[in-house]
Symmetry: none
Subunit: 222 residues, 4 copies
DNA sequence: GATGAATGAGTTTTCATTCAT
DNA sequence: AATGAATGAAAACTCATTCAT
């Protein structure tokens, strides 16, 4: 499951140079979206990618198509990370959670806007990825619960929300410091995941409830 | 310390209608910034506020002035909340932390973009507020540490960063659900604040280090 | 019934300079549409009118709005001409027809695109004008028929179609010569209107039938 | 004199598929020009023709070449019609005129833009065709005059102008109705051609005068 | 103090045209 | 011979900002 699938598996083969351009556009978009929001001039993305604006348009008919692809690529990476973590869940579930969330922080640059916290999308392939992510995380949680190393009231949605919170950029802060702060925050959060918790959580929305409300809405800069 | 100070305390008296317009502009800006980032057309803010764009310009000479004021208003509210919490710190420091952070969540709409997570500003009054906030939070932490109800490695910067993380909007989620998720996340985090922690945190940046890098950078849509 | 009504009677008062600009834009559009079709760059219209392109957009949100207004203005003039002609119909119906059609030729420049032959519009005010034009022409025809100076099988629709045919520009021909050719053609046509005709006409569509099919379709260059 | 000559008779042999593409491009251009003017995107013509845009360019180096060919094809058809009509002029000159003009209406779709009313062209072959058309029409007129069945003041130019007027599309009208209206108009006009006319025509421009002014002017949407 | 209006400077989007495959 | 791809240049449209009323 590479992070460069177009919007889903059915990739039409591109000519070599076109494929290269496409990848450069996506990389430029990822960076630009992070730095300046999804409302950045497409001009700038094209310039960063070293291609003409019309080339960008040929590949992505509008801004949304570009955003969607960036999100989908991000989701792919999240899924990869979640599955890798799930693979170790039987050994040490808490370490698996940590591995997943720290992976989110480590890959901030690539994730760009994904998860709940970013411009969401109705793209069916993106939705499928979201569900698969939830499945992998639930596997980890189940292992943690049955081994009694994880508080029972935490759900996959909480992990996704946490990932969304900590991997979003803290603008106006140098990236290294933002990363340190996120990691420190995560450290505390992970300690809070231990089973002997002292406070109850408000009842959670289901994953279904949450995604039910998701609709694509053009350009958005949070 | 009301939330409607222009940029600092010395507010020039405005005619009644002008004051009303100013307040409406700020409210509209707050909402628009949250929904669409600080790059939203000023036109739209004026329209939402029910005033002419030129009226907005009369009150705020440029976008930055408007952003600054929204930030300052937010900081004022944060400071109020932090001081109120600090007032109870001697009794129950952990509850004081909770009260502060839950207050952040409750006031999300008003905070708009403040703190680390928002468009920062060099406005001297804003900087002063930030420092005062840090002072109040350190008061709480000191109480917690000396009473040994709070892990020692947590600093004021961590609380500020946490506030920034949890009070930013999760776009494309209905606000109520975003609030619930933030509150659940906070619940876990608070449990992680107990002194018997199991993992060390990466070493923190100082408040000075962080703010050293802050510079105003025109318009930004995180 | 002046030719400068916005799109119908409910004209919001414009500031003096704004009204002047609006009139200049319409005049420029009229000329440009005639010369280069309704697909001419709006830039050029703005330039000819001596205003900024954004001023054009403030007044006419899109190309269609501009086209519609030009058409409506043209229809107003046609209606004026038809009514003036109808005023003399009782005296000399054939002269009234001639007066109407020659008026169309004389006012070519102002008519721009109107009638059947131009970019049609669904604008309700435009439709009403069309109907009123038909009424005035029928008045002339009725007088001609009862005085037996006009062949009976000619209808208002025929006069409108004739007007459309002869007042459209013959591009690539100097305007004076086009006018002469149109006038000569009209001369023959008028002779053909006499009652002692030698051939039958194919059965006519009703005005209702014709306008039933009219729908606005964005930009069109005939 | 087929309608598919490139610009003159000396047609280079094309490979079968290339010839098919060329014909499809011309058909698509004819239709598109009629519907949207000669300024339509060449992209669209290529798409309608089911070929790649680069293929269109291989066949026609620029828009003018395409227009010229469409015009030439149209002129060829006009000339065919005029000669066929001239063949019957000795028998019934008025019927010959009718046959010519009705033929114009019947072939509207194929004529596309020819004659005076369309984008003119300096193509020498096109000019020759125009002259030949005039010759054929004058033959008809001479017959009519000498038989005294046709008013004397009507010239070949008038017939050409009439053809131009009635065979241009009346946009925004369903083609069938436009055809009916044109035929009805023609019916009246033909009656006006009888020798016992009641009014004089303004003095005519000569064919030479008219064509003296013709120059190709790139793209034009009448 | 407030607003309608205008404008210059973008940003988005489309199109004609060329090139490499 | 035909096509996918790329591009420069233009056209459509938007927005921040200023001015005159």
């Amino acid at each position: 499951m590479t992070a460069s699938t177009p919007s889903g598996p059915p990739t039409p083969r591109l000519r070599a140079d076109a494929a290269r351009n496409r990848a450069q556009i996506l990389a430029a978009a990822r960076a630009a979206f992070r730095e300046s929001g999804t409302a950045v001039p497409l001009d700038e993305i094209a310039r960063r990618a070293g291609v003409n604006i019309a080339t960008l348009y040929r590949r992505f008919p509008d801004r949304d198509a570009l955003i969607t692809q960036v999100v989908v690529d991000g989701f792919s990476l999240v899924l990869d990370t979640a599955r890798a973590a799930a693979g170790t869940a039987q050994t040490d579930p808490l370490a698996a959670v940590e591995s997943f969330l720290q992976g989110m922080i480590d890959n901030r640059e690539l994730l760009s806007l994904p998860l709940i916290g970013g411009p969401m999308t109705n793209d069916p392939y993106a939705r499928r990825l979201q569900q698969q992510i939830a499945v992998a995380l639930e596997e980890i949680l189940t292992a943690g619960h049955s081994r009694k190393v994880l508080r029972r009231d935490v759900t996959a949605v909480d992990l996704i929300a946490t990932a969304a919170l900590i991997c979003r950029p803290l603008p106006h802060l140098p990236p290294e410091q933002a990363t340190v702060l996120a990691a420190r925050h995560l450290g505390v959060f992970l300690d809070g995941l231990r089973p002997e918790h002292t406070r109850d959580l408000p009842s959670p929305p289901t994953h279904a409830e949450m995604t039910a409300h998701l609709v694509t809405e053009g350009t958005t800069a949070p």
